[in-house]
């Protein structure tokens, strides 16, 4: 009997791998559309990870808002501007020589931190945490976080107006 692999572990590994690959694709693809689609891939896998973490509502929102709205907008703009591939880069020694090593150092240190400071985190099991449905989230959103919620709505309104004003072709 082949030991039934734990679906939680398997799912995580598959999704994480997929997310990382897509992430790499985002930053390495020459073309913006490819990057965008890779980003959708990251988001999709993250949505499933959210599901595994018990955040059902967020998973759906992740797909609807991020993948379905924001990224569509990105794709739309990319198509609209119809920009080709990037030109071959001018040498950016500063970013490469300083930025990347610093980034690796950053990643290393923060991973070290996570492992050192959080050695005994609970293990993730699908369905172990069920408070992520729409009802609890909505309840908290409209009670404790009502003010931020309203402020956010205002922010979105302003963003809409701002985007319209910005994108409008100047008439004169």
């Amino acid at each position: 009997m082949i030991p039934m692999p734990n679906l939680d572990v398997l799912g995580f590994l598959v999704l994480a791998t997929f997310a990382v690959l897509c992430g790499l694709s985002v930053i390495l693809q020459k073309h913006a559309v490819a990057s965008a689609l890779s980003l959708v891939g990251v988001m999709g896998s993250l949505a499933v990870l959210y599901l595994m973490l018990g955040a059902e509502f967020l998973a759906a929102v992740q797909m609807i808002v991020y993948a379905g709205a924001i990224m569509v907008l990105f794709v739309f703009v990319i198509m609209l501007l119809n920009s080709g591939s990037e030109r071959p880069a001018k040498a950016r020694y500063f970013a490469y020589l300083v930025g990347i090593p610093s980034l690796l150092a950053f990643l290393g240190v923060i991973s070290f931190f996570i492992l050192k400071e959080l050695p005994n985190t609970s293990s993730v099991q699908f369905g172990a945490f069920t408070q992520g449905g729409p009802a609890p989230v909505g309840r908290l959103l409209f009670t404790q976080y009502l003010l931020p919620f309203e402020v956010t709505s205002l922010l979105v309104l302003i963003a809409i107006i701002g985007a319209m004003v910005l994108a409008k072709k100047e008439i004169d």
Binding site: F12, L24, A55, L73, R92, L107, S123, F129, L166
Partner: protein, 105 residues
């Protein structure tokens, strides 16, 4: 292959850190404004993941709410940001981030 029996939350956090770093790396090396912008979204997503992971760890959904807000704000940001990119493109006919360096002077 030896698989562990369960995935600790810290793995999720590390995944988040990796994704975040990739976002930063993309920000550093990419030259197309839109791609750079997408790298920012990637970073936001990474952070969201850690929020949700912590929410799981702490068994409180406040973290998910933060994620929710991040998403909404990201939506607003994307709308405005893309509008700005459109305007920039209209004025400069270029999406190269190196060409947009008016800050220099």
């Amino acid at each position: 292959m030896m698989l562990p029996n369960a995935v600790p939350v810290s793995w999720y956090l590390i995944l988040s850190a990796i994704l975040f770093s990739m976002g930063v790396a993309g920000f550093l090396i990419r030259r197309n404004i839109i791609t750079v912008f997408m790298c920012i979204e990637l970073m936001l997503n990474a952070v969201n993941l850690s929020f949700v992971a912590f929410s799981y760890e702490l068994k409180k959904i406040d973290g998910q709410l933060f994620t929710f807000f991040v998403m909404v704000v990201a939506a607003a940001e994307a709308a405005v940001g893309l509008a700005i990119i459109l305007t920039v493109f209209r004025h400069r006919m270029s999406l190269e981030i190196d060409d947009v360096s008016s800050l220099k002077n």
